[in-house]
């Protein structure tokens, strides 16, 4: 039971580069979410997806792009990384149509933009 996995766990990149963070879940959950965690802000929602090919913006979407061609994958792309995107990124999934909306989180990706 792999659950929800994120890769890479750590990433260092330079400003202006494109970087993609991967998220994969094995539960066939319909909903998937991307959050970022910064000191003093808790977790803030970047983007979410209700199903394959259905995505929507969260609280802080600027500078990010998502796609969801398959139910199990929800990659997050920083098209031109900036230092302000240095953060810890968490992916989560849930299945609210089969019970309560309990979100389960991956281990996170720590991204540093130099």
């Amino acid at each position: 039971d792999a659950g929800i996995t994120q890769s890479p766990r750590y990433k260092i990149t330079e400003t202006g580069r494109q970087v993609t963070l991967m998220c994969h879940q094995t539960w066939s959950h319909s909903y998937m979410f991307w959050y970022r965690q910064d000191l003093g802000h808790g977790l803030r929602l970047i983007y979410y997806s209700a199903a394959a090919d259905i995505t929507d913006k969260g609280e802080v979407p600027d500078g990010y792009v998502v796609s969801r061609s398959k139910t199990e994958n929800f990659p997050l792309t920083l098209e031109s990384a900036t230092r302000s995107q240095t953060s810890v990124y968490f992916c989560a999934s849930s299945e609210p149509h089969r019970g309560p909306n309990i979100q389960y989180f991956g281990a996170g990706t720590r991204l540093s933009v130099l």
Binding site: G42, L43, R44, P96, P100, Q103, G108
Partner: protein, 111 residues
């Protein structure tokens, strides 16, 4: 949007002590979860508790939805309880299943 406030922001306990963490929210909710973020950064679900009381070992939680707050009780604290505790809510009027997080309570349990 909905505001989620957690208190206290920081808490230091001696091992064996009890504590109460509070989460206030500014709008009606149909989902409230408590999470523990361990020192390695992993977010662990503790409770799904939109209303009522639940207990799991030394931890229990109570949500009074009509008064818009939730409490997390930790009894006989252990060093492994250290970390950050987050409350997250889903606003009733929002059909997108998004969670809004509080800023967390950072707990340090000393041996």
């Amino acid at each position: 949007g909905i505001q989620v406030e957690q208190s206290p922001p920081d808490l230091i306990l001696q091992e064996g002590a009890n504590s109460t963490l509070r989460c206030n929210f500014s709008d009606s909710v149909n989902n409230l979860q408590w999470f523990h973020q361990n020192p390695w950064g992993q977010l662990i679900n503790l409770f799904y508790i939109p209303s009522g009381t639940k207990q799991n070992g030394r931890l229990s939680a109570t949500t009074v939805a009509t008064e818009r707050y939730s409490l997390l009780y930790i009894s006989s604290s252990q060093t492994t309880d250290s970390g950050v505790y987050f409350c997250a809510v889903e606003r009733s009027a929002d059909s997108s299943y998004k969670l809004i997080f509080g800023s967390g309570t950072r707990l340090l349990v000393r041996p």
